[in-house]
């Protein structure tokens, strides 16, 4: 199939009204801010990714994969950037008309490996969602990041993840999405056994994209 034909097919599918929206999938553009250890070590970046969302009855699942290229921000002590690949997964169950409980995982890897911490954690939390108009839904989520693992070692007893989401049906099957995520990990390390020192990690991320309802 040629590229114009594929484009026409996707456009036709996008403009056709969906009878039962169960799955959406689409690309995303990402803006991110990353800070680690001290205020002087900060990065800004942008990248691309994709997201998949599915619902069946009260159960919904969401997955997002983004790849962001970080560069040292103005005034940063860092002298080189890195590329982060982050995978987020959420599985939620509606417990009320406007609320869900959710679990999931977070995994972020850095390249080069030692330029930033690679992190893995389990999410446990909840979300609230509300339809603010025809085809428009706003979501707020708060998750505790349990059992985080860092490539540089250490522990983080208090790690939280906040999120704000927006899904608007633009036309037929075409949706516009915007997602904000703030992650804070109060990491502590004990380098050389000299005692624990704070090495917090903080990231903000905005994902804006389109999604096609299937």
């Amino acid at each position: 199939m040629t590229r114009p034909a594929l484009g026409a097919l996707l456009l036709a599918l996008a403009l056709r009204p969906a009878t039962g929206q169960l799955v959406t999938v689409g690309p995303q553009f990402v803006l991110a801010d990353y800070r680690e250890v001290a205020s002087g070590l900060k990065y800004r970046g942008s990248g691309l990714g994709g997201a998949l969302w599915a619902r069946r009855d009260r159960l919904s699942a969401e997955a997002a994969v983004v790849r962001v290229s970080f560069d040292p921000a103005a005034g940063s002590a860092a002298d080189s950037g890195f590329t982060a690949t982050q995978v987020d997964v959420w599985v939620a169950y509606d417990v009320a008309a406007y609320a869900s409980v959710e679990v999931g995982v977070l995994h972020r890897s850095a390249d080069p490996e030692f330029d930033a911490q690679s992190v893995g954690a389990v999410r446990v939390g909840g979300r609230s969602f509300y339809a603010i108009g025809p085809g428009a839904t706003v979501v707020f989520r708060a998750d505790y990041l349990a059992a985080p693992k860092f490539s540089g070692g250490g522990r983080a007893a208090v790690s939280l993840d906040l999120g704000l989401g927006l899904d608007v049906r633009l036309a037929g099957r075409l949706h516009g999405t915007a997602t904000y995520a703030f992650t804070r990990m109060n990491r502590k390390t004990n380098p050389g056994g000299t005692g624990e020192i704070d090495a917090p990690i903080q990231e903000t991320e905005a994902r804006v994209g389109l999604a096609l309802a299937l």
Partner: protein, 342 residues
């Protein structure tokens, strides 16, 4: 007074003459015609002679009845009531359905005719009405007149079956209702029947009959209903009034994200970038504002949904009853009875 008495006599005689003139118009026998002319001319002796002479001739039943009728009216006019009764008895034996109009004949002649009817055993005016009914739920009206107290048996005799309709000791007008059913309860088979009424009084018997046709048809079934009269389905969604709720919720959710971000930010890392939250939060606020201005989405009207469910249940229940009734109706037979001209 004399002219008045003469006038009354003329009127009375004219009243006697009217039915006989009407009957004599169709007479073929010459002697009967001459008797009729004599009666028209009030020559009663001549009427008696000619009518008796005609009765000795070869006459049809109608001519014989007419001859006796001339005799009856003439005897009546001559005040020979017993002889008039005898003549009228012969008339009704020949033509049992013969009827005199009390408004057109003299009281003397009518009373003589009435006495004659009571002295002869007859079954007259047997009528079977056209009727159509569901087998077992209706009856065929049958009526007749018995002129003397007698033992009467009414039967329906047909190729398919012979059924006794009713029997009893009756006199005068009799009204029967025949359910058109066999002894087992099934409708009588379709076909041609003759309703026969036999009357017996001592040695005297008389029978009257009326052919009828019994037809079978299917009973109409009831159509299913889609609505109940007087009850309408209500819309199951309603459009709520416009409100600030969309932008308020967007503000609340964005504010929650902002407060959470500010609260979790550590001083050691400095204030985080707000462009990401600004981008997404701004989009949420704009969307909320647009949604506030737009027509709200319809929402379910629970009361109407419940009402419609009850209404649908009622309609379904009624349709179940109709279906059951239709099953019964399909097993029933529409019986149609029509009298057949003799």
């Amino acid at each position: 007074m004399a002219p008045l008495r003469y006038l009354r006599a003329v009127v009375c005689l004219a009243g006697l003459a009217v039915p006989v003139v009407a009957a004599g118009q169709a007479a073929q026998n010459a002697t009967v015609r001459r008797a009729q002319q004599a009666y028209d001319n009030l020559e009663y002796r001549q009427v008696l002679t000619l009518a008796r002479a005609a009765l000795r001739e070869r006459l049809t039943g109608a001519e014989r009845a007419r001859a006796y009728e001339l005799l009856g009216f003439t005897y009546g006019a001559m005040d020979s009531i017993l002889k008039a009764v005898d003549a009228f008895k012969q008339v009704v034996l020949i033509d049992p359905e013969r009827q005199l109009d009390p408004n057109r004949v003299s009281p003397k002649a009518y009373s003589a005719f009435d006495v004659a009817l009571r002295q002869v055993l007859l079954v007259r005016q047997l009528r079977v009405d056209s009727v159509s009914f569901v087998g077992g739920q209706g009856a065929v009206p049958i009526r007749f007149t018995v002129t003397q107290p007698a033992r009467v048996v009414a039967r329906a005799i047909g190729t398919g079956a012979t059924v006794v309709i009713d029997s009893g000791a009756w006199n005068g007008q009799v009204n029967l209702r025949w359910p058109a059913r066999l002894p087992g309860g099934d409708p009588v088979p379709a076909g041609a029947y003759t309703v026969v009424v036999d009357a017996r009084l001592g040695q005297n018997t008389f029978s009257a009959s009326q052919p009828i046709r019994v037809g079978h048809g299917r009973v109409d079934t009831l159509p299913s209903i889609t609505s109940l009269p007087g009850y309408q389905f209500l819309p199951e969604t309603e459009i709520p009034p416009q409100s600030w709720r969309p932008v308020g919720l967007a503000f609340l959710y964005t504010g929650g994200a902002l407060v959470g971000t500010l609260g979790l930010e550590g001083s050691s890392l400095g204030s985080s970038s707000k462009r990401e939250l600004g981008l997404v939060g701004g989009a949420a606020l704009v969307t909320g504002f647009v949604m506030m201005l737009r027509k709200p989405a319809p929402r379910p009207a629970e009361a109407n949904i419940l009402y419609n469910r009850l209404l649908r249940d009622q309609i379904a229940r009624r349709n179940q009853d109709i279906a059951k009734e239709n099953v019964a109706r399909r097993q029933q037979v529409q019986v149609t009875v029509t009298p057949v001209p003799k």
